[in-house]
Every structure is written in C-alpha cells, then in structure tokens.
Amino acid sequence: MDAIVPGGFMMVNEQVAVVLTVNGDRFELMVEADWILADVLREKLGLTGTKMMCGEGACGSCTVLIDGEPVPSCLTLAVECQGKDILTIEGLADPVTGELHPLQKAFVERSGMQCGVCTAGVILTAKALLDENSNPTEDEVREALAGNLCRCGNYKRITECVMVAAEMMRGGVRNA
C-alpha cells in the first residue's frame, strides 16, 4: 500500500496468490489480501456485470454463484475463493453458442428488469433455486429471492420470469 514509485506506477504489497475459476476460465492472480471478491471481479477481471448496490450484504445485487451456491461477493474475500468455481452473469449464456440461459430468455421476453442493477443477482439466485428445484411454487420463488432488493419494485414480473424459466427448463430447453 505504501510503495509508490514516482511517476505514478505503484507497487502494492500485501498481495496473495490466488487461483480462481471464473465462468470456466482459470485465473492465477495476485490479489490484495483484504480485497472482496466483487472488487476483484470488477476491477481485476473487468467483469462489471456484478453490480454493487450496498456493499454490506443487504441487497443481493452482487450475488455470484460459488460452487453453485448464491453468495454476496461484497462479503466474500477473494482469497477465500481459492480453487473455487465462480459463476458471474457474464458466464451464464452458453460459452460456445452464446445461447441465453432460460432465465435470461424469460427476463428478456417478459421485461423482467427496469434499471437492471439487481438483475444479475436476481438471475443467479434464481438459477441456484432452479438447479435444486426445477418445479418451484410461487412461495418458494419468493422465499429464494427474499434477499434480493429491487428498488424499481419489479417483484411481480421477476416472480413471473422465474416461473416461466422453470417451465422452459422443464420443457427440455437447454439445461445449463
């Protein structure tokens, strides 16, 4: 933090080597020991699809899947993710064909977003639910999304999109 070479180039110490698998790609990185995963994704890997709304785990917008589990990336240190498999919104569509995941398709077709800041966290949280439970009730969808705040108040349409996506997935549409 204190070793700055004149001319603006900066050498930062207290860095730790970490290996992360993000969206299927393996990254060997040197990261600051106190950096949260969200900052590493956004600032070191340029994956700005992970949005930060509150920075303290209260809103769900920065949710990513770590080994399939939805986790707020603002409350997770990057060094904790050593060797783990991380999925962000950028990695949800088919990496080869670019085909959207059924959740993404449903959110596009039925306008499941307004400003779009909560969208990545909502879709990834819903993916974790649908991977566990392919035929959820409305109450189960609401419970799963209880920690995802949408300031645009789009909860009704979000519920609808998750139910539609679940139906698409059960109907044999590509199951990611």
Partner: protein
Amino acid sequence: MPEEFSVLGKSLPRNDALEKVTGQAKHVADIALPGMLYAKFLRSPHAHAKIVKIDTTRAEALSGVRGALTHMNVPKVHPKRKFEYLLDETVHYAGEEVAVVAAETKEIAEEALTLIEVKYEELPAVFDAEEAMKPGAPLVHPEYGTNLFHGTSEQPVPRCGSDGWLRLEDGDVDKGFAEADYILEGIYETPMQHNCSPMPRSVVCQWNGDKLTCWADTQNPMYAWQDLAKCLGKPQSSVRLIVDYPVGCYGGKEPEKIAVLVALLAKKTGRPVKAVFTREEDFIATHHRTNYKAYEKIGVKKDGTISAMSHRMITNAGRDCTRFWRVPACSAAHTCGHLYRWQNFKWEGCQVMTNIPDHNSFNGFGDSEAGFCVERLVDEAAEKIGMDPVEFRLKNCARPGDRAINMDTVMVGSATSHDRSLEAMKGPIEWGVFGTDYQLEECLRRAAEKAHWKEKWKGWHTPMEVNGAKRRGIGIAIGTHITAYRRYAATVKMNHDGTANVLSSATEMGQGCSTAMAQVVAEALGLHYDDVSIQFADTAATPAGFGNVGSGGTSSAITAAKYAADDARQQLFAIAAAMLRADSEDLASADRRIYVKGQSERGVSIAEVCFRAYQITGTAVNPPPETIVDEKTGKQIYDHAGAVTIAEVEVDTETGQLDVLRITTAHDCGRAINPIIVENQIDLSVTQGNGWVRSEEYIVDESTGVVINPNLLDYKIMTILDMPKHGDLYEIVVESPCAWGPFGAKGMSETAITTQAPAIANAIYNAIGVRVKGAHLTPEKILEALAK
C-alpha cells in the same frame, strides 16, 4: 383501439434487455480509463459550522495522493444555488463536502482524508421546519435573513409573498364552509423518503487539452452539462456530458457540484478522475423526499358535495433551495387545486430551510405528500355523510373539461422560464382544462370492479373478515400528478441501409423510454422495431431536452422524436414521390417500404430512398404547452394523469403487524406504447409507495442533524415478501389518447405512487376502526393509534 399499428401497443422486449441480462450494461461506476485516479470526499460531522482552519498538507504528502481541493482553492461558484459554493467555508448540514482528494487508489484516497486537519467552530443549527419558522430561530443562511424560502433574483417565485408564504384562493371559501353541513379537520404528516438509487452517485471526468468529457449518472443531462460549463467557465461546446445507463433515479439524481469538483481535480492532476459515492454517502449527501405537514379542512354537504377545502402546508426543504417550490407547487396546483371539483378552495404553503441534508424530487413529488393528507380526510368526509367512499369520489372527482392547472402555473421553474415571463406569472391564475385523456372516473370504475369493491366493502370501520386478533379491511384513494409536456428537441438520422438513429437528450434509467421511443419512431417511419437505434444524452450530439423529469419522457422526449420522425418521413416521401412518379400525399410506408396507397406493389424500399437522398435528417422541437388547446373553449389542456388504488390489508390488533394482501391500481396513460413496460412502471410506484409509509424511515437525529440509518440494513425498502403475491397485484391500464403525446401516449407511473399510502391507511381504518394520521403506517404507529 381503432387504429392498426404494426409496432406500437405491443409488449416487445426492451431494447436494453440483452445488455442487462448478460452483464454488459456499463454504468458510470463500471468505467475504467487508463491512468484513472479515484476521488474521495471529506464530510462535515457538524450540521452547521464555520471552518476556521483546513490544512491538506499531510494528506497531499501521502504517497499516491495526486491532488486535493478545499474551499481555499476552488472557485466560489455553484451550479444552481444562491447560498452554496462548490466547497464552502461554512457547512450547512452534517455530511456536506469540505474537501476532496484524488489518489492512485480508493484506499489511498480514503487514508488521505484522515490526514486532513480541519478545525470547526460550531454554529447554532435547526432541524425541524416549525422550529425554524419561529422568530429567533438559527438561520441556515443568515445572509438571506429568513428560513422561509421565497425566491431569489436568480430563482424567483413571483407568487410568493416576502413573508415566505404563497397563498392561492379560488371561489368563496368562507361561503363554502358556511354552506357545509359538516366541517372536518385534520392535522396530517407525511414522512421523508430517500430516493435510494440502486447505484450511488458516480462521475468520471477526463480532459483532452481544454476540452472536458464527463460521464455522469443523471436524469437531467442538459442541465448538468450547462451547469458544468458555467461553473468551469467554459463554453458549452467544450464540455461533453455523456449519460449511458443512468440508474433508477426516481426524481432526484443530478451530479451537481460533484461533477464540477471531479472535473477540477482532473484538470489539476492531468489525469482522468472517477468518484463513486458509497451507499452511506448516497444517504447522507444526496437527496430525499421532504417531510410535510398539513392542516386540512373540508366542508361537505349531506348530498355528497364538497363545498369547500382549505390546506395549509409546511415542508422541510433541508439546507437546499434548489428544488424550490416544486413540492408546494404540485400540492397547490394538482391535488389541492383540481383533484376534486371543489369550486371554493384555499391553499397556503411555505418551504422552510433547515440544517438537514438536501431534499429533491421523488416520484410523485408534492402530490404524494398532499394526497396522503387530503385522501385521508376526504375518506372521513364520506363517512360523515354515510356515503360509500367509491361513490363519494365518483361524485366529486374531476373529469375531462373540468378546470385544471399545473405546477408551472404556481411557480417558475428552470424548465419553464423559456416559455413564460415573470410578469405573466404574477397575474391571476388562468385555469385550463383536462383533456379526454384524463380518465380518473374510468380508473375509479374499473378499479372498483376489478377489486370486487361492492362485494368486499362491508361499511365504514367494518372489517371484511375477523380471525382472532387479525382484521381485514379494504380502502381506496385517488390521485393526480403531472406528466410533464414541455419543449423538447429530437433528431432522426436516416442511414443508407434504411435504418434510423434517434438523437435525444433523454435518458434510459430503467423506465423503458428507449424502447418506447424506438417503437414510436419505427411506427411513424414504417420501419421494423429493431431498425431504430436510440442515442441518448451525449451533449456533443444530442439536441436540447430537459431529460426525464415529472414523467416527461413519453410526454416530451418521445413526442419530439415522433415529430422528428414525421419530418424525416416527409422528406423520404418527397423523394419517393419523384421516384414513383406519384404525389407524396398518396404515399404510405410500412414494412421498410414506401408505396402508393392502394397499390402496394408500386413502391420503393426506404433504404433505396435514403441512398438516393444521400442524407435525410428529421428534426423537431415540440410546440409550446400553451398551444395545446381545447377546440371548444380555447383553453389550454393540461398534462396530467389520474390513478386509483384499492388496497386490502390485514392488521393484527395485538402486535400492530400490517400485511398488505392485495393491491389494485388503475392508471391512465393516453395510450400504452408497450403494455408490459406500463405495468412495470405502475408496479414501481406501487412498491415505492408502500415502502414510503410501511418500512422506509429516513431518520435524522433531532439533536445533531445526523442521519442515523444511512445503510440498507437499517433503511428498509420493500422486499418481495412484503409485497402482494403475483395474483394479488393488479395493474389496470386505462387508454384514452391525449392531445399532445406521440400517437396519444403520455407519461405515466408517478401518479400511482400518490394513491398507495392513503389507500392503505383507509383500509387500516376499515379493518380496525381507528385512523392513523401520522407519517408512517408501521406496527408501532398502528398500536399507538389503537392506544396499546
């Protein structure tokens, strides 16, 4: 709808949906430029203090710090306000910026803030509006001589008296009350609410020689840009403001002085500089809805006629007077002026400055506050004469042809000063009328039908259902708000392949303006929806427009785009007419072709016409509002929407727990350009209206003026579980084309926020038999009302 449309009126996918579901939508906070520095702000811990010493020497000596600004080394200017400078030697609220540092990393910038030495001399402060009005109260701006804002030479409020009160009176109020069979009175309060945008304020500035590029997250690009140029002393042509994907603004998002300070730091350091507020900073140093107190009186006759109304309001503006008079002006003109057909009304209001953070517009501003007061007392009036509350509102609510005004009639705002002279503003109020688009009556009928009002209404303070301590009740409220139709410009640039780019200084902040604009322009030109690409605010390219304010996106921005598309179509037709040896009057366009009406095979592709013409560019500026007149009476048609909400609630009388089980909201919109987006916009207002009174409490400490819950754990916005389930939330979209908008469409959404709180409050009364008159409808307040 009688007309046949190919693109309009369809729930097409949003044109920003793909970017948003794949994480490609880039916000200002996502921008990273080579060599970029990070700015952090030092804020005052005191609500009112003089800075007697400020020293950044140690901070600037920290390795990695590249520059610092304090009031000592910035120009003494401010984008808008009379009494505030970029950085001031006096701070007026706890959280005001006192210094800003740019450094190689956020962490270094934060550490540098701890090394800035500041010595404050505390000054007396005042936080409550009514306290601030008393003689001898501390003055927020001593040089102004009063805490009651009544205008300045730069920002006049011509109708306002020098005592700080604005008074409007119409008809004979004394006579109206004398003729009343009953007079009802109430004192009501409505709470503050923070806009709480999902993305805190963010700005990036980069200089290229003497030219500045600024990326800012705002809903008012043109004003932000003009203010920036003015403060920097640069011509507008040398300052470029770009607004991509601004995020959920809800009325209050402007970069204001932050953009100027970041631009100055970028100039000073010779590097690009980025500033992104933390959530805490967003809470303490941006804007919120004011709190509002009203002394309300209604006279009613036994036959259900409201014979008189008076409304005396006081609102706490905080340290700021930039948003001068918007809240009182909407209260006076809309909810108190013309929501009902009361011919005798008196309105008095004042806006008081205190040492709390700034206020600004929040969805439905003025009408949400006034509506929450008026609609609670109107309900009591209906009860007093024993009339069904739906019937009472049907009898009294305003209809097309009834008199109407708008906020601009009451105040002079920056957006209207182009159109109206100050002298004209001092004269008597000139009433205009509602157009046939104003469908409050139809909203009432359809909401009552959809909510099964007749079956569910069991009479006054009679629960629909009782289960032990739990009681269910139903309630209704109506509301009105502006859908700002104002001057606005747009350009439609045709391309050689027959596609079109629309240039507009509007913004896409989530409301769907970009999608709706593309649908309208495609329809007007005869193109496919995805042939039209929208370029929003980039001041180097997009023409004048006031951004998206007061539900003006559809009413103003898309109206301009429609006129510009019409202009382009006329040019296309003129060339096609020569190519087809036909009269341009006989041409039509559809499916990317221009053809002779009735002979669809005799045509030419739009691409070919564009190529032949080399360049076709349509431009337009909306006609001024006063030219939108009723043919019969010659009176101006005003730009409003109406909404109605019916709420069903369950109250636990032991715990005060409130569950909102079902909400039905009807909203007129002229014409739904994209019905699914219209419904989403209604849901936005429904949810924020619920949060306003049910869970969101913006708490300012009474003794220090410090915001004590500046985070999303303690400031609670509605979650999915707080809102009714999918099948219990109804949106009713009432269509009846307006006189000014594109294909008759007008702005919508905000009006639905004005009806939520009073509908829920009135439902609570019918459930438990006690009226809650305070600001919040929380379990504590409900228990207080039950005196438990």
